[in-house]
């Protein structure tokens, strides 16, 4: 068994934010300690009201080498942006 603590990815919901945002990572022996460590490392300047921790090995990520097939096809498809509609003035800011 490894003597190193596992790595945890930390997500924090800010004071006014709607969703949790990834803020960084840290080491901890278990999920409970990861939350405590996140509290001490990432919320000491009043940054958050909620903490999520996920052990890094449980995050599946896309591969950087796949970026061509994954993202480039959408670059040339401007019609997917809803910018071709006339919006009545009465609607106001959307």
């Amino acid at each position: 068994m490894s003597k190193e603590w596992p790595l945890w990815e930390i997500f924090i919901r800010g004071q006014h934010g709607m969703s949790h945002r990834h803020v960084g990572s840290l080491h901890a022996p278990d999920a409970e300690m990861a939350i405590k460590n996140a509290r001490d490392v990432y919320t000491r300047r009043n940054e958050g009201v909620s903490i999520w921790v996920v052990e890094a090995k449980h995050i599946a990520a896309s591969s950087p080498s796949d970026k061509g097939p994954l993202y480039e096809p959408s670059e040339s498809k401007v019609y997917r942006h809803p910018t071709f509609f006339d919006i009545p003035d009465d609607v106001g800011a959307m």
Binding site: H27, P29, K36, N37, D40, R44
Partner: protein, 251 residues
């Protein structure tokens, strides 16, 4: 001057000042970054509480001394912290066990101070108790983790408990100041907290697979200033030298 209240505030504030300074000595030296930051946060909380307690002490004294003057311009024999708080850090286990022994006492004390007859004491307790609830949760978990950990961590934690337990009793000492403060409803008699403390200690030590020493014999002489250990002088030398060398220095 209200001597009893002044003494009471010094006892509360010197505990947090000296322990806060001790814990701050870990800054940059803790075994892992996460613990380093957590210990620094705890130290800062304790120093923040010191400002409140010593600020109130200065106000009660009414001789123009503020929290800084009380922290930086008193000598060892004027300090009223319990001996537990001035004990050396030792290894990380010893530091965290000392923290737990103090956090457990402080959390019980502050809960009771929320019902103080003195509004100012009550206000400090309200604010500090939230910080201390977290300190206790953290030190408790770490003590359990290390006590019920590897053979080496267990042995170190048991050694730390054997070394520090003889300093626990002083937290519950009683003298004329304690009597007067209790009669006026400002704070409970320290001895009245012992049952709750012992219950918490027994619960956590059982979980940590650590054995509480049989003897209840206790060192004393910190909270009345009569017999501080030699360690306090060294702490003050480091903590006070700048204000002593350059009085009223600001930056």
């Amino acid at each position: 001057m209200d001597t009893a209240l002044f003494e009471f505030c010094l006892r509360m504030g010197d505990n947090t000042l000296v322990l806060g300074h001790r814990v701050s000595e870990w800054c940059g030296h803790a075994p892992v970054l996460e613990e380093d930051i957590a210990l620094a946060n705890t130290a800062l909380d304790l120093i923040g509480q010191t400002q409140l307690w010593l600020g109130l002490a200065g106000e009660v004294e009414g001789r123009g001394r503020d929290a800084d003057a009380l922290a930086y311009r008193r000598d060892a024999w004027d300090f009223r912290n319990v001996l537990l708080t001035e004990q050396p850090n030792g290894d990380f286990g010893q530091t965290i066990l000392r923290q737990f022994l103090f956090d457990a006492w402080q959390s019980i004390m502050l809960e009771r101070l929320k019902e103080s007859s003195d509004e100012r004491v009550k206000a400090i307790a309200e604010k500090a108790s939230k910080e201390v609830a977290y300190h206790l949760e953290r030190s408790r978990d770490t003590v359990v983790g290390l006590g019920d950990g590897t053979a080496e961590s267990h042995a170190r934690m048991q050694a730390a408990l054997d070394k520090l337990y003889p300093y626990v009793g002083e937290l519950f000492g009683a003298d004329a100041v304690d009597q007067e403060i209790a009669e006026r409803g400002i704070a409970p008699l320290p001895a009245d907290l012992r049952d709750a403390y012992d219950a918490l200690l027994a619960e956590v030590m059982a979980e940590a697979t650590l054995t509480i020493p049989d003897s209840r014999w206790s060192h004393s002489g910190g909270r009345d200033g009569s017999r501080h250990s030699e360690h306090l002088g060294h702490i003050l030398a480091e903590m006070q030298w700048l204000q002593r060398a350059y009085p009223d220095a600001r930056w």
